[in-house]
Amino acid sequence: MLKESHIMITHETLNADQALERIGMLLYEVGSVSKKYINNMIDSYHSLGAYFVIAPGVALAHAKPDSSVIKNDIVLMVCKTPVIFNSHNDPVTLVFGLCATSGEHHMDKIVDMANLLDNQQLIEKIKNANDIQEIENLLTQA
């Protein structure tokens, strides 16, 4: 579901903005967004709040589909020091970053992710994983 290049693990203590900046940078580094998208993600958090923290410990960060999105993509950051977003689903260990070119297009990766999130055992394993390869393997088995 996700390649090694699309996964990172961090031990840093990050606030919500910093976490969004990191996940946005990852989307930028894999070539799926321009840098503007990173600011868009942070701005949308400031204006709409932490609604994207969709389940206990799990965030699905994203911004509006616009010209700053190059292609549909999903990345994952595992935060060994959980992040506080000011949500009832805090603290957050898994931060997914999503970008889409339009709301119309069906994203297969969202379907994969929905199935993944159903599997509580797998989620726990990913939270506890210590290297990226391990996470990639867990996601491949899913």
Partner: protein, 100 residues
């Protein structure tokens, strides 16, 4: 009973709403409820025609003031039990034809 039109809402109608839409579809299907679910964004959701809106706690407050249809808060978009219970509670009211 006619088909229920349900709207799953997030900030932009692309990420979490798509996920919620899928979960609602599964919940309705599991209970043999005739429903069509679509994803929407918080900016246009209140003026889009539907029977019910499902969204997160953070966005519900804004929507409740503007929407003419019931706004139902889902705390965890991956909690099948919560989604199914809340969806079916709405269906029950919808079948009665009363206000939810």
């Amino acid at each position: 009973m006619r088909q229920i039109k349900a709207q799953a809402v997030c900030g932009f109608g692309v990420g979490s709403s798509t996920l919620l839409k899928m979960k609602l579809e599964q919940a309705f299907k599991a209970n043999q409820i005739d429903a069509s679910v679509f994803a929407g964004d918080v900016g246009t959701a209140a003026s889009t025609e539907c029977d019910v809106i499902f969204t997160s706690e953070e966005l519900a407050e804004t929507l409740k003031n503007r929407a003419k249809v019931p706004v139902i808060v889902i705390k965890s978009f991956v909690n099948k039990v919560e989604i199914e219970e809340k969806a079916m509670a709405f269906v029950k009211e919808f079948e009665k034809g009363g206000d939810v």
